[in-house]
């Protein structure tokens, strides 16, 4: 009997899974309208005295404004005593400065969990007042007419500095989020460096073996082999090259075009292969980068590395790659400049761990190729009918103005509610040059204009900190020449990430490759999922030797057959 009931429950589970969405959707929409009414009366009470000064980008509300948000949480983040995802130094600061009370109504672990939670919110038509979403999610919410028009709030309240970030994108940032003349989201404005993936390598291991950083794919294999043969991590635990985990990607793609830590982007680029990007082929035709012959070559090289035991055996299956990298088991990984930003605990635990980064390996012509990220890729959206859409704009203004006053060693700035990172595209490169000038004694803080100090929002704190963190000789970036004790521990992460991670971007000449498109076309909405699944599965299998490299050709045929050809035609149409 019990089994029978369980069986019936299981059978009905599926119906529930799909149908509950609608069921609860109806229930919730009536709730939502009820709360709309409530907030309506609230605002009538507040009405005349909501903001003392009209259109002040930093204006403090006289009566507290409640903003209910959904947020993602880094599962590894340890909150200091008295702080939590719901209440921390950032929510306190926002309350104090703007009189906005942040209420976290739900949270989920960053990655797939958060994505799922957002999708459920959209599907059940039950959005929090505001949350941060991806491009495809924004488009779905727009289709469902769930988002508040932010055009007026943005125009009226955006601070001049933030406005200058948007202007610097040639209006790209605004047009990315404008649908039918309405601005439906507040986007990030990305830093170019965050879409560039460096090769990070344990310099102390190289030095111990008397090796140089590998410049070509052949050298990369030799160095990795040397790491393995000499068991640099000890105890037979050496994993020469780290790879993506279950949440990770083999390479950044046109929909998620940056910040792909632990992917293999530079290896693909070394073969002039740009999987996941829409590019022109040599005949000028639009083609999807994953189906080119260059990509096949790159996969063959990766499969060779994997078969030689040089790449983590558990790529795609491992729960968190960061754990083995921070534990010192790996000798190399690929990731953006900020990959080491929060690794203070690593160097404090072992001050000899010397991660250095390079824009390598080179392609067969000896050049560096980089695929570049989209201008916008994360979006803060506001529920339709929310009374104070300008609140999210004010919070963004405040973050840009005061980010350099925050103590990020207590809690990373990623915990700032609804944070989409707004910056000038060349923030990293400019700051690195500025820091080098200051270290060399060519410039001091006073030599920078007020505008520069505002637009490069962390410039002042970076310059103030750099001489405490970096010790002489200033041009030697090895970990021995850094100071990360006591007061300097706060600034170490950012300064190290900038000078070590972003330095090579300033020093190296490289070819930029942009995707022709960074958003989904209509046909992709129904087709892309299956195409992507085929791609992910095939590539992982090829690299791990479960399928031979030549199965790539069958993959290309199948990809084109099950919708890839139609999608490519549509992309070509959109681009022209």
């Amino acid at each position: 009997m019990k089994k029978k009931i369980i069986a019936i429950m299981l059978v009905l589970l599926l119906i529930c899974l799909t149908a509950c969405n609608t069921g609860s959707g109806n229930g919730v929409s009536s709730n939502a309208s009820a709360s709309d009414n409530n907030s309506g009366t609230d605002s009538q009470e507040e009405g005349g005295n909501a903001t003392a000064e009209d259109n002040d980008p930093f204006g403090k509300y006289e009566n507290p404004v409640v903003l209910k948000i959904g947020r993602s949480i880094d599962p590894l983040q340890v909150y200091p005593e008295g702080q939590s995802p719901e209440s921390n130094q950032y929510t306190d600061y926002i309350k104090e400065q703007l009189n906005i009370e942040i209420e976290v109504i739900w949270s989920a672990a960053a990655g797939n969990d958060y994505k799922q939670k957002v999708n459920l919110a959209i599907a059940s038509n039950d959005l929090p007042d505001a949350m941060v979403v991806e491009n495809a999610q924004m488009r779905n919410a727009v289709k469902a007419d769930q988002l508040e028009d932010l055009t007026k709030a943005f125009d009226d309240y955006v601070s001049p500095v933030v406005k200058s970030f948007f202007d610097a994108t040639d209006n790209q940032a605004v047009s990315d989020v404008t649908f039918d003349g309405k601005m439906v989201a507040y986007p990030n404005t990305s830093v170019a460096a965050s879409g560039i993936h460096n090769m990070w390598i344990r310099q102390d291991w190289l030095d111990e073996l008397g090796l140089e950083a590998p410049k070509t794919m052949e050298e990369l294999k030799e160095v990795a082999q040397a790491f393995l043969d000499n068991d640099m991590a000890g105890g037979g635990n050496t994993i020469p090259i780290a790879g993506p985990d279950t949440n990770g990607k083999l390479y950044a793609n046109f929909l998620a075009s940056g910040n792909n830590t632990y992917g293999f982007d530079p290896i693909f680029s070394a073969f002039q292969s740009y999987p996941g990007y829409w590019i022109h082929n040599e005949n000028g035709e639009v083609v999807y980068g994953s189906i080119t012959s260059e990509t096949k070559d790159a996969l063959a090289a990766l499969a060779d590395l994997y078969a030689s035991g040089l790449i983590d055996k558990e790529i795609g299956i491992r729960e968190r790659t960061e754990e083995i990298v921070k534990a010192g088991k790996t000798g190399m990984f690929f990731g953006p400049w900020h990959a080491v930003y929060s690794w203070l605990d690593v160097v404090q635990a072992d001050p000899t761990v010397n991660w250095q980064s390079y824009l390598l390996p080179l392609d067969s012509d000896g050049e560096v190729n980089l695929h570049m990220n989209a201008v916008t890729f994360s979006y803060c959206v506001v529920r339709k009918g929310y009374e104070h859409p300008e609140a999210v704009i004010k919070m963004a203004n405040l973050l840009v103005r005061d980010e350099q006053t925050f103590d990020v060693s207590v809690l990373p700035v990623a915990d700032y509610p609804l944070r989409v990172n707004n910056a000038v595209r060349d923030e990293c490169e400019f700051t690195v040059s500025a820091l080098r000038d200051v270290l060399n004694g060519d410039k001091t803080l006073d030599d920078f204009t007020d505008l520069e100090k505002q637009v490069y929002k962390l410039l002042v704190s970076d310059i103030n900190a750099v001489k405490g963190v970096k010790t002489e000789p200033y041009d030697d970036m090895n970990i021995a020449n850094w100071n990360f004790d006591g007061d300097n521990s706060t600034a170490w992460g950012r300064t190290y990430a900038l000078l070590v991670g972003c330095g090579p971007i300033v020093d190296t000449e490289y070819n930029e490759v942009y995707s022709l498109l960074y958003a989904q076309t209509p046909l992709m909405e129904s087709r892309w999922v299956n195409l992507k699944k085929l791609e992910d599965e095939t590539f992982l299998k090829i690299i791990m030797g479960i399928e031979p490299v030549d199965s790539f050709d069958a993959f290309v045929d199948e990809w084109l057959d099950i919708g890839g050809a139609d999608v490519t035609a549509e992309v070509a149409d959109t681009v022209s």
């Binding site: 069986a7 059978v11 509950c20 969405n21 459920l120 038509n125 999922v529």
Partner: protein, 296 residues
């Protein structure tokens, strides 16, 4: 009179259960209309446009759908066979145990994994069969190269079924033990007097004695053919084993919840429900015919 009052109380007791069923199972069933719509969450199921059978047509075009139906049936068949055979054999062995005092502790110990949720049990399994896990350590002692168990499509269904049996056989053993206690000990004594050994008695008394139970369980498990166990597979699988490990439920989850293809996933879910309904009806019919099992 007394009897009638007595049954009325029983019906009253059913009310909470029925309310639950109504709220969480019957009412949500109306969501099935999504399968025939181009569902838009903003418009809800009352406002979304109907598009007839388009979702089903697209579904049948997808290669995936065939493979997920096959995987589902294959994995659940393995589970059904395993979950019938292993507990039965184990119950028989336990029953034949000479030192009876051991029977209870053994029964309790093998019963334990049943109470651990899949989330916990799966992470234990991921480690046990991990690349650096104990199984590979033992294999390496025999000179076998470590195997990436969770990345092998050809191993995955068996791992899933095997671990499911491992987790549940203690629980299922109880049903067989109950059936075994129903056998008249007099038969065993009589057979023993006639000179039947242990094996003969097993063959001619024990097995026929539990035959009805076995048939009933076989028949009733038919309806689970399309339930291969969402929570288990969801935690254990990864893109490498999609080809053999992706089942209807996980596919519907990824398609509907991660990728927002609401209507398509409802269509697949509906197809599953229809097939399940047929299987349940068949199994009930067969159960009635072969085991005299009556629900109504």
């Amino acid at each position: 009179m007394r009897n009638k009052r007595f049954t009325r109380q029983y019906y009253l007791l059913l009310i909470p259960g029925f309310l639950w069923l109504l709220l969480f199972s019957i009412i949500p069933m109306f969501g099935i209309v999504m399968a025939f719509q181009d569902f838009n969450p903003g418009k809800g199921i009352f406002g979304s446009p109907f598009i007839g059978l388009d979702n089903f047509r697209y579904m049948l075009k997808l290669k995936d759908v065939k493979s997920i139906f096959f995987n589902t049936v294959f994995i659940s068949m393995l589970k059904i066979v395993g979950n019938l055979a292993v507990p039965m054999i184990f119950a028989l062995l336990l029953n034949e145990l000479r030192y009876k005092k051991l029977a209870k502790p053994i029964q309790t110990i093998v019963y334990l994994p049943h109470f651990i949720s899949w989330v916990v049990f799966a992470s234990i399994l991921l480690n046990i069969f991990g690349y650096n896990g104990p199984i590979n350590t033992i294999l390496s002692m025999f000179g076998v190269d470590p195997v990436l168990f969770w990345g092998r499509p050809n191993l995955f269904p068996y791992l899933v079924a095997g671990t499911d049996v491992w987790k549940e056989f203690g629980y299922n053993t109880i049903i067989y033990l109950a059936a075994l206690t129903g056998i008249d000990p007099g038969l065993h004594e009589a057979a023993a007097l006639d000179g039947a050994g242990r094996f003969r008695r097993l063959l001619h008394i024990t097995l026929p004695g539990i035959k009805t139970t076995v048939i009933l369980l076989v028949v009733l498990s038919l309806r689970n053919v399309l339930n291969a166990g969402f929570d288990q597979i969801f935690i254990l699988y990864n893109p490498l084993v999609y080809s053999t490990g992706d089942i209807i439920d996980t596919w519907v989850y990824r398609m509907g919840i991660l990728n927002m293809q609401y209507s398509l996933s409802t269509a697949v879910g509906l197809l599953k429900s229809v097939v399940s309904l047929i299987l349940i009806s068949t199994s009930y019919f067969l159960a009635k015919k072969f085991a005299g099992y009556n629900l109504f």
